[in-house]
Amino acid sequence: MITRRFLDFPDFGWRNPFEEMDRVRRYLDQVRGQADAGYRIPQAGVFPLVNLTETKENYILRAELPGVKAEDLDIQATGRNINISGQRTIEPDPNARYHRREREAGWFSRALTLPGDIDREKIEAQLTNGVLTLTIAKSEKARPKQIQIKG
């Protein structure tokens, strides 16, 4: 490929020999990105994965956190940001022989910016069956207001 480039641009002389490789690498990254996008839901790649919905009054944020106790969770709200961090612990049985170990333990932290202003005083958190549900009230300004048409 380098040879061909010399033939194509004889006047340019010796350029950065790694340029060609960089180009190939970028191309491969692009191809891989396209292949991934086909079957994967877009996600931040940070544990825990969240689903966010909205109603007229609230944002509702849900995250699957099986085996995480409420006291091991730390939820903070700053401005429009919600930060969920904590630890998932799995008590090992020292005498046991493991056949399969797919569940993971460790620390996690996830920050998320909400699309609108929120009322930080009105955030409710609930942990049921391993699913965290945060009900976050929208601030007065962020709520839609019905406009009456005068007749």
């Binding site: 544990f47 909205e54 993971e104 333990a105």
Partner: protein
């Protein structure tokens, strides 16, 4: 699990979907992540099934096949609109073959914080027995 493993940062693991599942209900079916470990009294199986209520878990033992199913009730209200969807919810399904040594009548199940713990005690005949040597 070692202490080293506990202090790690958790990585995102996408839910595993059952490939080519033959099913009668619509919607995706996921394979719950499980830990299976064995000590001298029995085998313990722990499965992550977030969002499933106690009454919606079905544990079926037939001959030597253990089938776990968990149903998720739709919990979104009708007036909610999606902004960001990173994970899907659906049914859980996983099947295991039990070794013969499990006492099938004494299987104990418990669901806590979205984690199902199944204790499968070993039958008396299968427990390791230490033989004492009598000396006169």
């Amino acid at each position: 699990m070692t202490n080293e493993a506990q202090s790690r940062d958790m990585q995102v693991k996408g839910k595993q979907e059952v490939a080519g599942a033959e099913q009668t209900r619509p919607g995706p079916v996921f394979i719950p992540a499980v830990d299976i470990f064995e000590n001298e009294n029995g085998i313990t199986l722990m499965a992550d099934m977030p969002g499933v209520a106690t009454e919606d878990i079905n544990i079926d033992v037939r001959e030597s096949t253990l089938t776990l199913t968990g149903e998720i009730k739709p919990f979104e209200n009708a007036d909610e609109t999606d902004i960001l969807v990173e994970y899907e919810t659906g049914q859980y399904y996983r099947q295991f073959t039990l070794p013969e040594l499990v006492d099938q009548d004494k299987i104990d199940a418990q669901l806590k914080d979205g984690v199902l713990t199944l204790v499968l005690p070993k039958a008396e005949a299968a427990k390791p027995r230490k033989i004492e040597i009598k000396s006169n």
